[in-house]
Subunit: 383 residues, 2 copies
């Protein structure tokens, strides 16, 4: 009955790609230095502004989201500038690693994994060290399932005349995010999350304030040189070969996003996240994130259950992919995503497979309670 084993992707990236998007990618290859492609690029660059909630240009790179993170740091490396990476999980650590690797001056703000950064802590540091000119933050810290208060961080950075760079790779479209209204200076994201695309595209958008700094930097990067990308982008072009079919797929995904409307998308993610959390706690399990993101629910496991085994069982037996813990959380938590192209039935499959695994691993709980909770919460929110 488990055969045919179909694939259910409930991980916080890659996320399921709609059939229409997959098919749009499968169209015959076209050349990128053509008016046909430029027209597509123009449209997607315009539509991305809506997704980022900005009037700034959104640049597209053929790279993973990490590429855009590096681009942000390397292009903001002006003389005497010190960086403040906020480190509350694996992706906060990535900011720190990028700073190390590029060799910029930085002091990390370590945050207990599972907690959001306290904006007051950021304020204290900015107040005490005037050389800190760039704060590196994360919207949804995918490894812990925590969402950070970006709006508040933006207020503080503005007050101290620092630049706020936000990794919105997994959070974009799931957690509310308003780049211009909130005053975020740099936003980076990737394709394989809320944008419902395969991996391979990274995005970056900079405020006027950020561009002013970037313009003065003698950037020590070639591929990720934002000034070059900006110049080409102004003509709806790219300095190097773009990932043509992914851009075509992006145009289809953006069409779907505009049709649904960003407020509706945020609301759907919030509703699915609420239902998921309630289903999880109804099974007697504890949420790991103190301030949970709408992209992913991270769940603390009782010590008698090995998370790595649990994830493996679910994937191998049912074809359902959920994520385990990363770094120091390996084996101790699992993470179920409700990110991108997902609806109530995807959640039902996820919760059922978790119930089956808990049953298999001898955990004591009331069978069916998680599914009942999904139904109850759904009906509460439905109409």
């Amino acid at each position: 009955m488990i055969t045919p084993k179909k694939r259910y992707l409930l991980t916080p990236g890659p996320t399921p790609v709609p059939e229409e998007v997959l098919l749009s990618q499968a169209k015959p290859m076209i050349h990128h230095r053509t008016s046909e492609f430029r027209q597509i690029l123009k449209q997607v660059m315009e539509d991305l502004k809506y997704v980022f909630q900005t009037q700034n240009q959104v640049l597209i790179f053929a790279s993973s989201g990490t590429g855009a993170m590096e681009a942000a740091v390397v292009n903001l490396t002006a003389d005497g500038v010190k960086f403040l990476p906020i480190v509350g999980g694996k992706f906060g650590e990535r900011w720190k690693e990028i700073c190390s690797s590029i060799g910029v001056d930085f002091i990390p703000l370590e945050v207990e994994w599972g907690k959001a950064v306290n904006p007051e802590d950021v304020e204290k540091i900015l107040k005490s060290d005037k050389n800190i000119k760039v704060v590196l933050a994360t919207l949804c810290e995918t490894s812990t399932g925590v969402v950070n208060d970006i709006q508040k961080l933006a207020e503080i950075t503005k007050k101290y005349d620092a630049i706020l760079v936000v990794d919105a790779i997994s959070g974009l479209l799931a957690d509310e995010f308003k780049m211009d209204e909130w005053g975020v200076d740099v936003t980076v994201s990737g394709s394989q999350k809320g944008l419902m695309l395969p991996p391979g595209l990274a995005f970056i958008s900079l405020s006027q304030r950020a561009w002013e700094i970037v313009e003065k930097v003698n950037v020590r990067a070639y591929y990720f040189d934002l000034k070059k990308a900006r110049k080409s982008g102004a003509e709806y072009d790219t300095p190097y070969t773009p990932a043509v079919n992914l851009v075509i797929a992006l145009s289809k995904a953006l069409e779907m996003i505009k049709d649904e409307g960003i407020e509706n998308i945020w609301k759907r993610h919030s509703q699915l996240a609420t239902i998921c959390r309630n289903a999880i706690t109804s099974l007697g399990l504890k949420l790991f994130a103190q301030k949970p993101s709408n992209a992913v629910t991270s769940v603390a496991l009782p010590s008698e259950i090995d998370g790595t085994k649990m994830i493996k069982f679910i994937r191998e037996e049912f074809g359902v992919s959920i994520a385990g813990g990363q770094g120091k959380l390996k084996g101790k938590i699992f993470r179920i995503a409700h990110l991108g192209y997902m609806n109530i039935f995807d959640l039902l499959v996820g919760i059922a497979s978790i119930e089956f695994a808990l049953h298999h691993l001898g955990y004591k709980f009331e069978l069916g309670k998680g599914l009942l909770k999904v139904e109850e919460e759904f009906l509460k929110q439905y109409k």
Copy 2:
């Protein structure tokens, strides 16, 4: 949360088509009068014998299953031969309509809808009317969800030297069926059911005994002339243009079927059917079929619920297609299929959407009970 509305096809045909099969269909067009295509046709004609459980040739037509039903009747229309269509639902009626339309001599055996034919009733008629030489039966009567005892009918027809023609369109691969071992003379089927293909192909296989009659008939048909098809088929060819891409898709589907194994496929359908029936009755609903098929579960609705409204609600709100009643059962029953490319999670989606609809329509039941039953029954059968 209902958005994105994905499609869930839980109807007894068309059934979900595996991605691998869909992609195989999307390969560039090839010509049919080539050794490349003949090689494919040879392989699928061999593999179809396994699915039909026969050593006889299985012929392929570009048509719906109904085409193969007509082919059976028109090619068996020898002088003085009288037909006995067994009519226990819409597809039994189709046998009768084909007989009428072709103008053959026939007497129908009417069976109460929802019940299987009593083989003794067939025996009585064959005993009393020696001119009846062809019995037209149905493996799974899709309109009522009933499975008929084909093995018993084959024993009886053999005893009275009559030919047994079986419409195995929706039953094939879901309900156990052994053409040669049981002594079935003619089997017809279609592509869009257990074979996991889009509609467009019909299949027919005849025993030696049936061919002896067909060979003598001066057939009043051109496209469905079985003698011509047999002759071409012997050289792995078709008299007229075959549905090339569907045949290529068929070869992929047959690969998957051989990999799973027909006994496992029968077992899976039987397990899913059992789980589905238990989930349905746990909601206080009644099964309509007295002897239910493993392809589809038909459910009698309480008079206060309009089945047509219910089906419409489920389809429009959730993107889930289940089937309503046909003919005189319209509005009175609904039918949920577990046929072809389906697993436990498909059933979960089906039962959840039925629970949501029942709740919406004000039916009194314990929410979540159907889903719990699915989980309980699954765990009983699992390992």
